[in-house]
Symmetry: D4
Subunit: 223 residues, 8 copies
Amino acid sequence: MHRHDHARTERIGMPEAVLCDAKNVEQVRNIAIELAAAANSPCLFTRLTLEQFEALPADIVHRFDVDPLSRTAFLDGTLPTRPGRVAVVAAGTSDAPVAAEVVRTLQFSGVSGELIVDVGVAGIWRLQERLDDIAAADIVIAVAGMDAALVSVLGGLIGRPIVAVPTSVGYGVAAGGSTALNSSLASCAQGVTVVNIDNGFGAACAAVRMLSLLDAPSQRDDR
Amino acid sequence: MHRHDHARTERIGMPEAVLCDAKNVEQVRNIAIELAAAANSPCLFTRLTLEQFEALPADIVHRFDVDPLSRTAFLDGTLPTRPGRVAVVAAGTSDAPVAAEVVRTLQFSGVSGELIVDVGVAGIWRLQERLDDIAAADIVIAVAGMDAALVSVLGGLIGRPIVAVPTSVGYGVAAGGSTALNSSLASCAQGVTVVNIDNGFGAACAAVRMLSLLDAPSQRDDR
Amino acid sequence: MHRHDHARTERIGMPEAVLCDAKNVEQVRNIAIELAAAANSPCLFTRLTLEQFEALPADIVHRFDVDPLSRTAFLDGTLPTRPGRVAVVAAGTSDAPVAAEVVRTLQFSGVSGELIVDVGVAGIWRLQERLDDIAAADIVIAVAGMDAALVSVLGGLIGRPIVAVPTSVGYGVAAGGSTALNSSLASCAQGVTVVNIDNGFGAACAAVRMLSLLDAPSQRDDR
Amino acid sequence: MHRHDHARTERIGMPEAVLCDAKNVEQVRNIAIELAAAANSPCLFTRLTLEQFEALPADIVHRFDVDPLSRTAFLDGTLPTRPGRVAVVAAGTSDAPVAAEVVRTLQFSGVSGELIVDVGVAGIWRLQERLDDIAAADIVIAVAGMDAALVSVLGGLIGRPIVAVPTSVGYGVAAGGSTALNSSLASCAQGVTVVNIDNGFGAACAAVRMLSLLDAPSQRDDR
Amino acid sequence: MHRHDHARTERIGMPEAVLCDAKNVEQVRNIAIELAAAANSPCLFTRLTLEQFEALPADIVHRFDVDPLSRTAFLDGTLPTRPGRVAVVAAGTSDAPVAAEVVRTLQFSGVSGELIVDVGVAGIWRLQERLDDIAAADIVIAVAGMDAALVSVLGGLIGRPIVAVPTSVGYGVAAGGSTALNSSLASCAQGVTVVNIDNGFGAACAAVRMLSLLDAPSQRDDR
Amino acid sequence: MHRHDHARTERIGMPEAVLCDAKNVEQVRNIAIELAAAANSPCLFTRLTLEQFEALPADIVHRFDVDPLSRTAFLDGTLPTRPGRVAVVAAGTSDAPVAAEVVRTLQFSGVSGELIVDVGVAGIWRLQERLDDIAAADIVIAVAGMDAALVSVLGGLIGRPIVAVPTSVGYGVAAGGSTALNSSLASCAQGVTVVNIDNGFGAACAAVRMLSLLDAPSQRDDR
Amino acid sequence: MHRHDHARTERIGMPEAVLCDAKNVEQVRNIAIELAAAANSPCLFTRLTLEQFEALPADIVHRFDVDPLSRTAFLDGTLPTRPGRVAVVAAGTSDAPVAAEVVRTLQFSGVSGELIVDVGVAGIWRLQERLDDIAAADIVIAVAGMDAALVSVLGGLIGRPIVAVPTSVGYGVAAGGSTALNSSLASCAQGVTVVNIDNGFGAACAAVRMLSLLDAPSQRDDR
Amino acid sequence: MHRHDHARTERIGMPEAVLCDAKNVEQVRNIAIELAAAANSPCLFTRLTLEQFEALPADIVHRFDVDPLSRTAFLDGTLPTRPGRVAVVAAGTSDAPVAAEVVRTLQFSGVSGELIVDVGVAGIWRLQERLDDIAAADIVIAVAGMDAALVSVLGGLIGRPIVAVPTSVGYGVAAGGSTALNSSLASCAQGVTVVNIDNGFGAACAAVRMLSLLDAPSQRDDR
């Protein structure tokens, strides 16, 4: 039996999630049945394949809200809304699936996320047109593959927290995303942080962690 | 002539810093003279070698506050104090120089930072003894080399933002820090973010970005 | 003709095994026919594909005990039972196939193996609930992908032999298993040993080698 | 203050050790003073440089037993002797420092270790001359750089536990030890386990873990 | 139009060959038609897929001698026989396709090649049984994946030229063949040479180059 | 005796140069003596160490024009001036030695080069201030380490040829320059070309090749 | 909605292009519809799959000029012809698709490109036969996989700009193209520049940038 | 005590050699004393440092023939001369130390070796001038760093055995020699074989193995 970590949301406020990537169809189906039966709280499924989704039992499938582009599903809705706004900035159309995973994970977590796409630095005027929108957010999540130059340019223009999500988009030295990853880590802009390649889920969770700073002003006052 | 970016602190609130690592003694000396003459605002020097420090002109050297372990120096003091508290958690004594760079950069930025060392997971009871201290901070910066298991353990116990700083400590597959880096990026704990290997300065800057969320409640209200 | 190493079990006590991974359907079929005809002793097939299994001749297929999850098959039963108990600890559901290969190879070798799953360190309380079970075993085999932090945590809590099996589970820097491998090799817990990525068979064989220490007390006395 | 893990030996039976590699002279000196003052139990220093050793205070230096080849030192003797015998087999003279670290760590742990050198497979008759000695040990630790072919040859001839220690000896593709490491991990001999490159200390600790199987027959009986 | 190098065999005595791997079906078909029309001399096709073979025109297909295991085809027979004998030694069944490419390329080149399989060093007695056969050859080609320990063992026992062909067989660190390649290059046996991973064709061509030393005794006498 | 390629400048118009990096003091001295005696044409020495320079014979040293920052020397002046202007743009002070090698090689080749430094994208307003200067050049050479984001930003703003020179500046994933190299190769800006890490000489030579397009209008007309 | 960069051609003279590689069928279809409706200027599609092409709406498909080998399509013709001639030199038949992408991108950009194939250095006489043709071009683009030796040989014979396009053709160490890439970057021929693996589009764009030197003689005169 | 392999020369005809690289001064001194006392046969020392040489005892040092460039020493002369001639071809002056190791190892082995330097393909006319000399040898050893294009060019022009020795000369992607190694392995010229980076000793030993084909015509006749 799958031993799901029902305590995680309660203990550290992180969304409960099932990464379907390395699980087979039967494993995902069994976990879904078990979670649906327990009905503890909303649950997020990420990297869900079409085949895995179609194998869900008919009696519970209506409880899932599925999004094909991001390959995510919500079981029993989302978590309560919480304060804070996140700008999700993507360099190009090819980064759309990862950016969508960020937005959907934010949505599941009750956080408002705005998607801003096609603002790669090769046409930097397009980025400049959207800069005010981006600067108004509490947190910026930059989704970029290839050279990930977008991350450094944003880092030099914005003082808010910036989380880079390198994507595996590209060919040759860009294939697999290690160039985007290393470029983000070596960014000349200070204080940018990075998550694993294509890890839109993780970037959104990082934003949730950061937004917890808005939750508890009283605790902070008495220090 | 060195074209220093006096505008950066003003524009995005980041500390003004000079990375001395890849500069020769004469270059650092010239930048120091120039910055001391301009006297715009406090400035941070990182990865300063002893030789570079000793080459500073006698008439300005008293304006520098130097710390050998972290290899940092403050020119003309620090930035004003700001709200927020950061726990800097290091797995072992060998990680001390990088952890010290984090603490000193926080200090320069006006942020309170507490250092908690020798809490590696190979003796997990030592970490558990300090867990309450760590959990009380607004942000946790985890400094760890080798397997960086500390990052994942903290990530599962703490809901606040966690920034991992992989260190280059170790030999064999650990040498250079790529194992610690990849382990942090692949952490099974969700929402942990990562900076470049040995980049204590960057992790502290990331905390400064995050703490900006505490600065402007009014801006957030009117959205 | 395939020249099988019938002498190996006899000489060094290791199970006789056929790695089907890089062999084509015809090669596996021919080896199976030959071994079935020789009928020397039980034989283990690992990484057997469904297609390879279905190509076995009808007159010998009943002599095979097949397990799809672990992709293993026993020809003519198992080796005699031997003393010793092994705990097979897996971080997550995704590691199940490799963990199953460990358990099946132990079973084939006559060794008692207990599977303990879903005890990743991101929810360390789940591991702590099972710690007594794990500590009671003679040998612990830790199956973990991604950051393999489980290996280090176990290594700090348990004094028995620990064999890490890194798995290729994961995406980005975790893909292929080299992060889990390097993290295990660089573990801050002393005396942990490691086998190749996804090599559940090898970890079980290592346990068999170690359990040979229980076989021959007399030999040891007279030194 | 250094927070040493005095509990480790007691809890999991592993030797207490200080890895001096990434610590500076002052850090090692301070740890030595502190441990000497505590006088809890014998302690092992590994990868100790000459400079670090010479900086030890005069009043405690006589309590250290130092060995230059292995770069190890014992503070206040060794742990009590325990049953079991380990053969430490090294391919060539160049592997001697790592092999010496294995032998010294075994000695510190109270375990009998025999060193067998210059038995590389390029002159396989030399290995065959020593095979009976090797086969009589409880555990074999194979120390080998370059192609590490010794590991596979031993693995095919010996049924006892075999721990491979890849060394960083060599040039070109052998430099740094990753070829020896990967070759050991990919060994065609089943059940060989591996530790990090040049990690003689870890291999000896692994042997200590394995020899714990000889300690407690009664515990095993009552299962 | 394909500009085939009809001059190569004549100029340097190497077999004329078409590597079909990276060519599409139409490209291979066109080259075959062109070469068949020219009818200059026998020609070797390597890494020919079934699909490529089946697309050959009906009127020339009978002029091809095809071998599925090695994925080779001869157009218009082979080159004249020449003196010299080559032993092709393969560690395991999984290396069979590459070993077959060696043997077929030798056959095409008019050289006698003997295949000796399943002599991996994990069961070194099997290698010893065949050693006299191997030692009697003019040249030894060792085909081995994973740790390629066979290469070093042969190199220590045989004084004739040894060419190692690393294979891409295996999983984990062995996958793709770089471990076998590096292990062969770092072999502790002196004077072993190496070709690219899976390059059975190249190893056979190297043997043809070496056997040219037997062709022209008179030229050598007069120096 | 050194066999210098006196024909190269004549045949393909490239500057004659001696790369001193991998040569010992005696080798450089001998080549210098030989070239000075031949006195064919000006010659460029690159990556010249201080020790190599100081070992030049007293009777020829006055014929050398040495520049310590770029580690270059001209023997017997420079090549004739030629049309065309190159902007050499460097992200930071740390890139100065490589940028200086570009400028000096251009100067040796008779080409006008303007150095524009400290225009990294983390402070993009500094780049924008210099954009008109950069856009007025025939060719832009972008010298950048770390994330090399400067390359992509320039590539999106400038239509002239852009040659990226990645530098080995930086630490962690930036160390050695492979991140800057891969980021430049994967640039989202189209038509940027790249030379080897730290190869300022090569970038200048590439500019010389490109400027040859200005030399021969008549040749182009008659096609 | 896709935010296409209509300004790029106008601003920096680069062709407007859609990289279809990492986009799904629906994304490419939507971009095509949008661009066809805007009808601003000709547009180039690269790495277009057959499936993507077949999904284009019937009412606009006739406006596309498709080439299967290069996987390119032109929407609404090409850009106006411009002066300059480019030789596209490919080592072998396997490099044909990438060479075709170069030629098609040149054609789209209004540049004359001549394809010269099967001139690999293993048969250097074939290259010598075509040398005059190659030398007569303004720019040489060398398309080569495996060892990319063609790049260095051309670099030593030709004084015009040379752009190397490494290809991913090959197996073993050649697979993926990194050997060809690194070999081109490390070329012993000075002033060769390089683009990403398989980036025929980028090489052609680099040529367009270089040919802009022929456009504006007057601008150059008045400096 | 060092267990030297006195049997190797006798058994397989390879020269007896001591690789001094990874041995300390004392180890080399002890081996030298031991070998000098045994006085079995001439012995070759490779990668001998000046410090190691100067530590040899005064009473035996006269029996050593030392060469600083190649870092080799002969103890008690060389092996008897044997038939065959080897051309050692080096691309540049920087490859001289490795080329010298080849020539000295040949000389020690009794083989005639001719050194041909400065024939890199960037000035291919220099290679063509020497081609007849090279083609007249029995075996060609090509010593080349960076792109190693020399290997492929020779491979296309010469039908004799060719052994490539990649060198670690160069910077950026060439540093360490892996580019030269991979380029040699991926050579488009068929039948070239390769040894480890900088392994001049190994290449000469490979030639000795190949020249054994000239030793025993009678053995070959009776097959």
